[in-house]
């Protein structure tokens, strides 16, 4: 059986024998399945309007996958296919299309491949930092609508130098957007809308990520930043969360969170050097920002400052475990309602306990949101991405208006 699967995998990932092409047009499912093996390094896969079923796997470098129309190019897994688009090459771009109803991931950009060359998110060995492959540089995911996918809508793993922007991620059983396993991700998550998922955005063992200018609302928990032993490169360090609207993450008509979280704006679990600044954090029924430990990873060097707080159950709670209390955690927020009361620096532990969450719904039954605007111009020129990106200075970011990115078009 295993040998048979490997043989099938080799067939599926192998070359068709045709010369690599700079422009590969996709107009039907068969062409979608073949496009990844046809495209040359530096090429463009242009998907014409239509609804497609299946998976697009791309391993060449500097490839752009572009939909002709964000709302009218739909890759639909029909609750049968595992992932919509999987990219493993350097400087990989996905833009201007919709991925929905995949059992695992809508878009997976990964730096790990299996023995057949297929992109995977982690191997069987889990937390083995020395064995983790070097991260693959460069990626851009933009103007993508990822809705109702069984694990993650947009997933970057073991990558560095990436931008995830202007996307809509909704209806994720785990999270709408996920960045994981990168010792220095050098990643920017900006101007996205994340709603109606168990978690809007998740960063796990993902250091040096800036999350700026996003609308993260109506999930069960808006953002989780965590460290663990399931992936290499923990703890998560130097996360910047700035200029986002993180509000009303109390929506019951969403997939249930695996750990029962609900009504929470931001969870910082075992992070080092997290900075949360200039965000609007409002209307989260249980807690705005919850700082705690994760396994034996302690929360350390956390800074909360200059955020706008309103109508959260608690604005901030600090509840590390007894064996991983951490240090240099400072909350410079006058007037914030905190647990313990009056947090400044290195407070004692609070007493907040996550209340029982309401029953949720299947990711497959989450309502589809209105369409969002796509690329203004769709041409046949591939993107040229750098290996590294510039991230904004958080000191230059201001608190956004409550209606940031609220309008669908």
């Amino acid at each position: 059986m295993t040998a048979g699967l490997i043989a099938l995998g080799l067939t599926g990932c192998g070359s068709t024998g045709a010369d690599p092409q700079q422009l590969v047009r996709v107009t039907n499912d068969d062409e979608l399945a073949e496009a990844g093996s046809l495209v040359a390094d530096g090429g463009l896969i242009l998907i014409e309007e239509g609804t497609y079923h299946g998976t697009l796997q791309v391993s060449a470098d500097d490839v752009t996958v572009r939909g002709a129309d964000r709302g009218a190019v739909i890759l639909d897994g029909e609750l049968d296919a595992s992932s919509g688009i999987v990219g493993t090459g350097e400087r990989f771009t996905v833009e201007n299309l919709t991925v929905r109803n995949y059992l695992q991931n809508g878009v997976l950009v990964t730096g790990v491949t299996d023995e057949n060359g297929a992109g995977v998110a982690r191997g069987p060995d889990g937390y083995l930092p020395d064995a983790a492959p070097d991260p693959v540089p460069g990626y851009l995911v933009q103007y993508v609508t990822a809705e109702n996918n069984g694990l993650y809508g947009i997933y970057a793993f073991n990558r560095t130098g990436g931008i995830i922007r202007d996307n809509l991620a909704t209806g994720g059983s785990d999270s709408g957007i996920y960045v994981g396993q990168c010792e220095s991700c050098n990643a920017l998550v900006e101007n996205n809308v994340m709603q109606w998922s168990a978690v809007g955005l998740e960063l796990a063992n993902a250091s040096d990520v800036t999350v700026a200018g996003n609308r993260i609302v109506e999930n069960r928990i808006g953002i989780t930043v965590l460290s663990n032993y399931l992936e290499a490169h923990g703890p998560t360090k130097n996360t910047v969360i700035a200029g986002n609207v993180i509000s009303n993450n109390n929506t019951a008509e969403t997939p249930e969170h695996a750990n029962g979280a609900f009504g929470t704006g931001v969870g910082l679990s075992g992070t080092v050097g997290a900075r949360v600044t200039a965000n609007r954090i409002e209307g989260n029924d249980n807690v705005g920002v919850w700082i705690t430990s994760s396994e034996d990873f302690a929360p350390s060097d956390t800074t909360l400052e200059n955020n706008a707080w309103a109508e959260n159950g608690l604005d901030v709670s600090f509840t590390p475990s007894a064996n991983a209390t951490g240090e240099n955690n400072c909350v410079a927020e006058n007037g914030a309602v905190t647990d313990p009361a009056g947090i400044r620096c290195d407070p004692g532990p609070g007493t907040y306990v996550q209340p029982t969450a309401p029953t949720g719904i299947s990711f497959a039954k989450v309502a589809l949101p209105p369409e969002r605007p796509g690329l203004e111009t769709v041409d046949e020129t591939p993107r040229e991405l750098p290996d590294t990106i510039e991230r904004p200075d958080p000191a230059s970011i201001e608190i956004p208006a409550a209606d940031l990115l609220e309008a669908a078009s």
């Binding site: 059992l103 982690r122 694990l151 796990a204 399931l230 249930e256 695996a258 949720g360 299947s362």
Partner: protein, 213 residues
């Protein structure tokens, strides 16, 4: 977030922990390929997408006095089931109607339903509800777990389910026809659940809705 998801299948596996030997299948099995991990990861969600399915749950040896067989129609979305419960050795078994939820069950039939908490040998029956779930497992986590591919038999792919401890001690196996669950059993013979995809569902008794309120 991810660890809890990873142990979901291990909860299914926890129905039996005694060691045993498989028939024509590998005892130790092989680590999952990515394709096998996805196949296993998607199976329980696939079963949740049907309106109802029919399952036969057999607990204990056929000739044992505490042998149970429940043939039930399962509503995976609402976690209720109804059908027939047979108690006692196979040739002497006494049948009664049953309606069940994960929390309790009732026997007796129309006008005489008597609700009871799960206890004793009947407490194994609600494991049938864990055959479906509202989301796929994380395939990557399954590859990191002690789940194993044991081989193929009767055109079905057989997997040993993961454990929370990761020590490979599970005796629970899931038999898959592609992504579709055909059987859950234990190598000890303590439990077998066969999913009959060709069977017509039984009519839903009115008392089902009262039970789950």
């Amino acid at each position: 977030m991810r660890r809890a998801a990873s142990v979901a299948l291990s909860l299914v596996a926890s129905v039996a922990l005694l060691a045993g030997c498989a028939g024509g299948l590998s005892d130790e099995g092989e680590a999952l390929t990515p394709e096998q991990a996805e196949q296993l990861a998607n199976a329980r969600f696939q079963l949740s997408t049907v309106d109802t399915f029919v399952a036969e749950i057999s607990v204990g040896a056929d000739d044992a006095t505490d042998h149970l067989v429940a043939r039930v129609t399962v509503d995976p979305e609402n976690h209720v089931a109804w059908g027939t419960l047979s108690r006692g050795p196979e040739k002497l078994a006494v049948d009664t109607e049953i309606i069940m939820s994960p929390e309790l069950y009732a026997t007796g039939g129309e006008g005489a339903w008597q609700a009871q908490d799960w206890s004793g040998e009947t407490a194994t029956l609600p494991i049938v509800f864990s055959l479906s779930t509202d989301r796929p497992e994380n395939a990557s986590l399954l590859r990191q777990s002690d789940a194993r591919f044991l081989g193929s038999e009767d055109d079905l792919d057989v997997f040993r389910l993961p454990t929370e401890s990761g020590d490979g001690s599970s005796t629970s196996r899931l038999w898959l026809d592609g992504n579709r669950i055909s059987r859950l059993d234990t190598t000890t013979g303590a439990l077998t659940i066969d999913v009959d995809r060709d069977a017509d569902p039984d009519p839903r008794p009115d008392a089902v809705d009262e039970l789950v309120q």
